[in-house]
């Protein structure tokens, strides 16, 4: 009962916030002269045929996986008070390097994927090391340096695709791209799993990399809550001064956290790359996960479980974009709704946090003023 109550206490503010966000969006849709009810129906419309429904679920999964990884990467920085805006640039660099080097090596299937994954993580971490080093040696704010490095990443990526990684057999009139990854580096899709589950198989590839994302999420959750490194990370985030006084070097933690965050950022682009794109092609490369990841991390309150839910919510809304357009709702409505969700969750969360704090203080005071020391059951 108490556990249920505690769980409810934690989840209720979010539900309230979601309700508020929905209401505000409805007002917005009314203002532009469309029907909010129709929009709501469209939001939950997965299509009429089983194939269309399976497709919709596939789109949802494909979108959620990179958002989750991006949110996770951002949250690592947040956990120790670092604002890593550079996930955007880190995953771009990581994806280009993974695509380029991955096409250049020959390995059997599972190993090939593993090596590409490790390359991507190393590249992301290496690019994140730059702001980390600038911060600990020169005191450069990571906010500034990562924003600038995002711009530089676009240039570096463009250079890499042109020079070392360019596909020598490009078709006529084709923009440059990296060489296609061989079959052994294609991550098996989840399409057949749909069949096993008794659903229609989606016609589009459903990226199997989501499984890796889930595993990574669990590992990160365990590291954060159970490892000494995770504890030191959180301690540094809560109070850098107290952490330092207790033997946790804040400089070392900045570097470690940024490397960790960058390594996770390196995974963001792999879902698309290994699942369907199979090469880096700037026109079809999806940019922006790094920025959306900030919102996802905020919405998920920097906890892996929360980030997973937030990524699912964002992907759910994104998925509905084309459907909403058919109903006359501009695609920007989705973005606006996402923004409002994040804002209202944060506001409601802050209010709830303060109330909880006051409650705790009252309880502690009550305890303190009790005439006898209270036996504490462990």
């Amino acid at each position: 009962m108490t556990r249920l109550l505690g769980w409810w206490r934690r989840i209720a503010p979010t539900l309230v916030a979601l309700g508020v966000a929905l209401a505000v969006t409805a007002v917005f849709i009314l203002i532009i002269g469309e029907n909010p009810i129709a929009a709501l129906v469209a939001l939950f419309d997965f299509g009429e045929t089983p194939v269309a429904q399976a497709n919709s679920i596939g789109v949802w999964i494909n979108r959620a996986a990179p958002l989750f990884l991006a949110g996770l990467a951002v949250s690592i920085g947040f956990r120790m008070g670092l604002f890593n805006i550079g996930v955007e640039g880190q995953y771009r660099i990581a994806t280009v390097v993974a695509a380029g080097l991955g096409a250049a090596i020959v390995l059997p299937a599972p190993l090939h994927i593993l090596v590409i994954t490790l390359i991507a993580m190393a590249a992301g971490a290496a690019y994140a090391a730059i702001p980390a080093i600038l911060k600990v040696t020169r005191g450069v704010s990571e906010v500034i340096s990562t924003i600038m490095l995002n711009a530089i990443a676009i240039g570096i990526a463009a250079y890499l695709i042109r020079s070392p990684f360019v596909d020598p057999e490009l078709g006529a009139g084709e923009n440059v791209a990296t060489t296609r990854l061989p079959e052994s580096a294609h991550f098996p899709g989840l399409n057949e799993l749909f069949g096993v589950l008794g659903l229609e198989e989606p016609r589009r590839p459903v990226h199997g990399f989501v499984v890796v994302a889930i595993v990574v999420g669990v590992v990160v959750a365990v590291i954060l809550s159970r490892s000494r490194f995770g504890f030191e990370l959180r301690a540094s985030g809560l109070s850098a001064l107290a952490a330092t006084a207790n033997g946790i070097s804040s400089r070392a933690m900045v570097v470690k956290a940024m490397l960790f965050s960058g390594a996770l950022a390196g995974l963001v682009g792999l879902s698309d790359l290994l699942g369907s794109a199979h090469r880096f092609q700037p026109d079809s490369f999806v940019a922006g996960y790094g920025f959306t990841g900030i919102a996802v991390a905020l919405l998920g309150r920097n906890r892996p479980g929360g980030i997973a839910l937030a990524a699912l919510l964002f992907a759910f809304l994104d998925r509905a974009g084309p459907r909403l357009q058919s109903e006359g709702i501009p695609p920007a409505a989705v973005t606006i709704m996402q923004g409002i969700v994040v804002l209202s969750v944060l506001i409601v969360d802050e209010v709830a946090r303060r109330r909880l704090r006051r409650r705790e203080e009252r309880r502690a005071r009550a305890q303190d003023q009790a005439t006898t020391p209270v036996e504490v059951a462990s």
């Binding site: 079809s284 905020l298 084309p322």
Partner: protein
């Protein structure tokens, strides 16, 4: 940590709202449904169109396609639906599927970026005719690709710029370094050199490589153009999609010239102050290509990949504003030479 979180919240929200605003320029995204026209067999045809990033209302490339679609609605009586992709372009394939599932046929994809996804989706819907504007040829039977000899039109723009420059310096502000924009640039430079090899040409791209962000960066275009004008350039050719308006603003402010692309931007830009700065526009008749391919489809013909050039008016130049009335003879002279094959314009430098 709390402070960081609050900062982050503000940042994230601002970024999201900004992208929302940017991608929803003037809110003309309503699905426009063509009215019943007098066309005979067009009424039971439902045309679908998926724009490139920026969508309807970019006053340039997408709008040119939209104009062709609107014309097909009016003159051929087709009903149609058009969709715009998310600001990160992540759901182009979903747009095509949404249109196909909605029973639309033919389905047009506007822009190079539909290159791979259209082939993929075309395989999923073998009975639907797909038409792509721009990009490399496709080997799929149900995909037709409409391309344009941008280099030829751009050659004429180069001629116009060379004839009109007073400082002997002209410039290019391009969206990126992709194949299409490189063709624009190469043609323009050949045109300038054909008139006067001593004229200096500055070439700047808003995004490196194939990065598409440069097509939606008016502020960047404005900064780049301002700098060029300060260095003495007096005419800028601007193949940069949505970003063109930035170049126009800089031109109007500096009292110099800019040359638009894709649509007749003197007409599409709307603002009289900016109009005064638009010397001419390189017309890429996407509207014609769209209209004609829909027409072919209705008439039951096979929609085939076509390359439009000067000879079939697929590319050309605009005279709105009357700023180049004095040199049209020379332009037409060059145009004829190109059509006759006396001048060969290369797509690459």
């Amino acid at each position: 940590m709390r402070r960081v979180m609050k900062l982050a919240a503000g940042f994230a929200t601002a970024a999201m709202l900004l992208t929302a605003c940017a991608s929803d320029d003037d809110g003309t995204d309503d699905p426009t449904t063509g009215t019943d026209g007098e066309g005979a067999s067009g009424e039971d045809v439902q045309v679908g169109m998926a724009f490139d990033v920026g969508g309807r209302g970019d006053r340039s490339f997408n709008d040119s396609a939209a104009a062709g679609l609107d014309r097909a609605g009016e003159e051929l009586g087709v009903t149609f639906q058009d969709l715009s992709p998310a600001s990160d372009g992540s759901n182009r394939d979903e747009l095509l599927r949404e249109l196909a599932d909605g029973g639309h046929n033919p389905i047009l994809g506007i822009g190079y970026a539909f290159f791979e996804v259209m082939d993929t989706v075309a395989d999923e819907y073998p009975d639907v005719q797909f038409i792509r504007i721009d990009g490399p040829p496709s080997d799929r039977e149900n995909v037709a690709v409409m391309t344009f000899a941008e280099e030829q039109g751009s050659f004429l723009m180069g001629v116009a710029a060379a004839l009109k420059t007073e400082t002997g310096q002209v410039g290019i502000v391009g969206g990126n370094e992709g194949e299409v924009i490189n063709a624009f640039g190469a043609g323009f430079k050949q045109g300038v050199e054909a008139v006067d090899p001593s004229i200096e040409i500055e070439d700047q791209r808003l995004s490196p490589g194939e990065e598409p962000a440069g097509f939606a960066d008016p502020a960047g275009a404005r900064v780049a153009a301002e700098a060029m004008y300060q260095r003495g350039v007096d005419i800028i050719y601007t193949p940069a999609g949505d970003s063109n308006v930035g170049t126009f603003q800089a031109a109007a402010e500096a009292g110099k010239w800019a040359i638009g692309t894709d649509s007749d931007q003197y007409e599409t830009v709307g603002d009289p102050e900016l109009q005064e700065a638009i010397l001419t526009s390189m017309l890429k008749r996407v509207d014609s290509a769209v209209f004609e391919s829909i027409n072919t489809f209705i008439e039951g013909g096979d929609v085939e990949s076509t390359s439009y050039d000067l000879s079939d008016e697929g590319v050309g130049y605009s005279t709105s504003g009357g700023f180049i009335d004095d040199i049209t003879d020379e332009l037409d002279d060059y145009k004829q030479q190109i059509i006759d094959g006396e001048i060969e314009v290369s797509r690459t430098e």
